[in-house]
Symmetry: D2
Subunit: 136 residues, 4 copies
């Protein structure tokens, strides 16, 4: 599971959740160099040093992009970027205005909407056919 890797908010919570599963691997794409803060739940820290431009790396490196909430411009930018780069995108519990807007700009079959974390996993595995596990 890949996130922005900082010890804050959804990134931190998602990494902690993933590491509660034995055998999981968490990757953090940090905006800073190695002097910046990293979540303790990140296994592989990639220090980009490119600031906000690292969002593009997150999207390009993901099989599917999951946005939790979409309540601020940061998440909105990532969702729009994912749709621009034609990655399958899942909105988890998005606000009505976000949902309505992203439907107007998404390509066919790109945007998915669910209300619970369990539904995200089910969607990814069953509908999108992306395996939860990949051997390394």
């Amino acid at each position: 599971m890949l996130t922005g890797g900082r010890p804050a908010g959804v990134m931190e919570a998602a990494c902690a959740g993933a590491k509660s599963v034995p055998g999981s691997l968490t990757i953090g794409i940090l905006p800073t160099g190695p002097d910046g803060p990293v979540s303790a739940h990140v296994d592989v820290a990639v220090f980009t040093g490119v600031g906000e431009a690292r969002d593009v790396i997150n999207v390009l490196s993901s099989d599917v992009v999951v946005a939790c909430g979409v309540e601020g411009p940061g998440t909105a930018s990532e969702v729009a970027l994912a749709l621009k780069l034609a990655r399958p995108t899942v909105l988890l519990a998005a606000a009505p205005a976000a949902s309505a807007f992203f439907r107007t700009i998404a390509g066919p079959g790109m945007l998915h909407e669910v209300q619970t974390p369990e539904s995200v996993i089910e969607l990814i595995e069953q509908e999108l056919g992306i395996p939860r596990w990949r051997a390394v």
Copy 2:
């Protein structure tokens, strides 16, 4: 005036318009290296080679960000990025769903909406107090 610099769409039209004014300076922040296409109306071509990540450079380098239309995910990503990075942002003739969404994520006083190019100029000069000309 700074754009993405490619010979296409709004970028090309905006550069051509700017160069119809004597003494103007147009800057293009290209996603490619010097082997990629550049609008003939760009005075200073900055070849970034960083692809989509160049959108961050566009936003950081602008005093005010103007989005024409907001009809696709590319423009949506730039608008969200501008709001995230706290740049004054102007939506020109945005669709209702875009307008409604961006109002929910914009910080106080950051988002402006107008319907004509003339109103953009007026807003920038009078309301935002950003001079149209800067001596070089």
Copy 3:
């Protein structure tokens, strides 16, 4: 072990070697998006899309930088970047002119020179005190 991740040259050989060791983890920092080629020996592919700028990410994300040969400008640029960013740097079998030059620009204790791959591992573990294995 982190490399540039492409299926070519030292990157490919280093990844193949690392994957011959059970339990190893190879990370590739690719210059392209997911449409570009990746070594079959890379476990975690990070698609940056930023072209040559990804060299900075490689250096920032490494505990120690090992350069094999230094026979071309690409490797030379990475070695100079590693010295600039103050990462411990190991030259493996460098040509005399490269060795002589990098000694003139390296900070105290930053540059190490060895002649065999075995010596690289020994140096990293014993002299630099960087563990060969890190639990994930």
Copy 4:
């Protein structure tokens, strides 16, 4: 004339020199966002926010790369990058070890060496055929 744009060292001196010529245009490719320092002699400030990765932008955007001195790893990295990206490169008053090394990694006709600023201008205009002025 394009530099790294910060108010320090060769960047600052080169920008100040260029601006002493009426009609000149100086471009600064900054590593920071607009909160970072900029030379007062920069006309067009491009805020990249990508840190050291901006060196690639400098090289890609230049018709010819001129290195003054090559006394540290930062300049060495830029020279190597310029040679890798096949830009005409001029070393001005380089140290003997730098000169000797870069000759071993430069492609045919790419590397030029001179001892005075006047010779740089002469080389660029007469030997490389790059005009000193370009109308904007």
